[in-house]
């Protein structure tokens, strides 16, 4: 969803960092995307190149670290692994599972010069 806007968000963060950390070129962008986040990594890759074009991150490599998801199942009263945001509990099949981790979409670090 809306990966074009999210890629623009990444660029804004890069431009902010460029001002505060004094760098003029970005060679690698490392993102952390949780499995339960709202970003499709493939769509992000597609948009990333287009959005970075003409910026200080033009041509930068994109590395995406995918983080696993987990949620709290109210029926089982325990943390369970989750593969999809609105998926059922793998133990009991209930949909009353609250995502606990894996919803991140963050810029983790940049390789710059």
């Amino acid at each position: 969803m809306h990966e074009m806007s999210l890629a623009e968000g990444v660029l804004q963060i890069i431009e902010d960092a460029a001002r505060s950390q004094k760098f003029s070129r970005v060679k690698t962008v490392i993102l952390e995307i949780g499995k339960l986040g709202s970003v499709e990594p493939e769509a992000m890759r597609f948009c990333f190149e287009a959005v970075m074009h003409g910026s200080i991150a033009q041509g930068a490599a994109l590395e995406i670290i995918e983080l696993p998801g987990s949620g709290w199942c109210m029926q089982c009263a325990m943390n369970v692994p989750m593969d999809e945001k609105y998926g059922a509990c793998p133990q009991c099949g209930s949909y009353q599972v609250q995502p606990v981790s894996g919803t991140q979409m963050r810029v983790k670090e940049l390789e710059v010069e």
Binding site: A17, S24, A61, K108, V112, E113
Partner: protein
């Protein structure tokens, strides 16, 4: 598109404002950062280099690609004297942090003035604008209100709202598929919102993207109409998960449709067990009293919070 440098940050137009309203920053090859001013004066000192990955060493030029090897903090392929060494910069920022910062500013703005801001989200054609027109007609005698309209193109919706006598401002998102908090912030001065008023923000008709973009609203209200499928909450769960209230619109058509209301509510509650639901018809007025009472409760709660739990009565 910005005519100074060709960058495309969207083609957002806000009624009553210069089309080229966005200032933006660039950092150049030599590390100098500057912003483009609104008057579009081109910089003569800095030119944008289209392919930043090509450098010239004395008598030869070579483009370079890089692999993913990192040796400590240095790049795996540093190769010439005088070249700056690459380094890693820790960022650890949420991709939506910029939007969330603007949303927090909007929320502070609304809270300080006791303004209840509702973000109305739905598919195109669910009857959002008709519902708004009816709501405004019934509310305008008792509450000061205003509307921000979001659409890709045209000012049709803002004109429909203004025909009711309520102030409205249209944001055209151009290529964008949703409103963001910065667009709302830019539209606010044009509305001259009164203290303790009600602000409806009608988002772009889209059940996907607006879910992720906080505008600083008190809450999102999702509108589902009976001419859509009962499984919309399952197909587009993010939106129904993000909404506090679901209005099931076009209820007057139920006798003519196969729409299963119970199933639709079950589906909505499967993705959001806490979601509230009101069945309405903007055409016949069915359920409007419940919807307006819901707004009144939200306003009361907001104003009580603002006045330090003092009980407030209003007309």
């Amino acid at each position: 598109m910005c005519t100074t440098c060709g960058c495309a940050t969207g083609e957002v137009k806000i009624e009553g404002q210069d089309e080229h309203h966005h200032a933006h920053w660039h950092v150049h090859e030599d590390g100098a950062a500057h912003s483009h001013a609104q008057d579009g004066v081109a910089s003569t000192k800095y030119r944008h280099v289209q392919d930043a990955h090509e450098h010239i060493h004395g008598d030869h030029a070579h483009p370079h690609t890089h692999d993913h090897l990192h040796f400590g903090l240095g790049a795996a392929h540093s190769h010439a004297s005088g070249m700056s060494q690459s380094r890693m910069v820790q960022i650890e920022r949420d991709i939506l942090s910029k939007n969330n910062d603007y949303a927090a500013q909007n929320r502070t703005f609304f809270a300080g003035r006791g303004i209840l801001a509702l973000n109305l989200v739905s598919s195109p054609g669910s009857g959002k604008t008709s519902l708004l027109v009816r709501s405004i007609t019934e509310l305008k005698q008792s509450i000061a209100l205003a509307v921000i309209e979001g659409d890709q193109q045209t000012t049709n919706d803002a004109e429909r709202i203004r025909a009711t006598g309520a102030p409205a401002i249209q944001i055209n998102t151009g290529k964008g598929c949703h409103l963001d908090a910065h667009m709302v912030r830019q539209a606010l001065p044009g509305l001259e919102l009164l203290n303790e008023s009600l602000l409806f923000i009608e988002n772009v008709g889209n059940l996907v993207c607006p879910a992720a973009f906080d505008l600083g609203e008190a809450c999102k209200v999702a509108i589902l109409s009976t001419t859509e499928g009962e499984d919309k909450p399952l197909k587009y769960p993010d939106m129904f998960q993000a909404a506090r209230l679901m209005l099931l619109n076009k209820c007057d058509l139920l006798p003519y449709l196969d729409f299963d209301v119970k199933l639709a509510l079950e589906n909505a509650r499967r993705v959001n067990p806490a979601i509230e639901v009101i069945c309405v018809s903007a055409k016949t007025g069915e359920g409007m009293a419940d919807w307006l009472a819901w707004i009144a409760r939200e306003r009361t709660a907001l104003l009580e919070k603002r006045q330090g739990n003092a009980l407030i009565h209003y007309g």
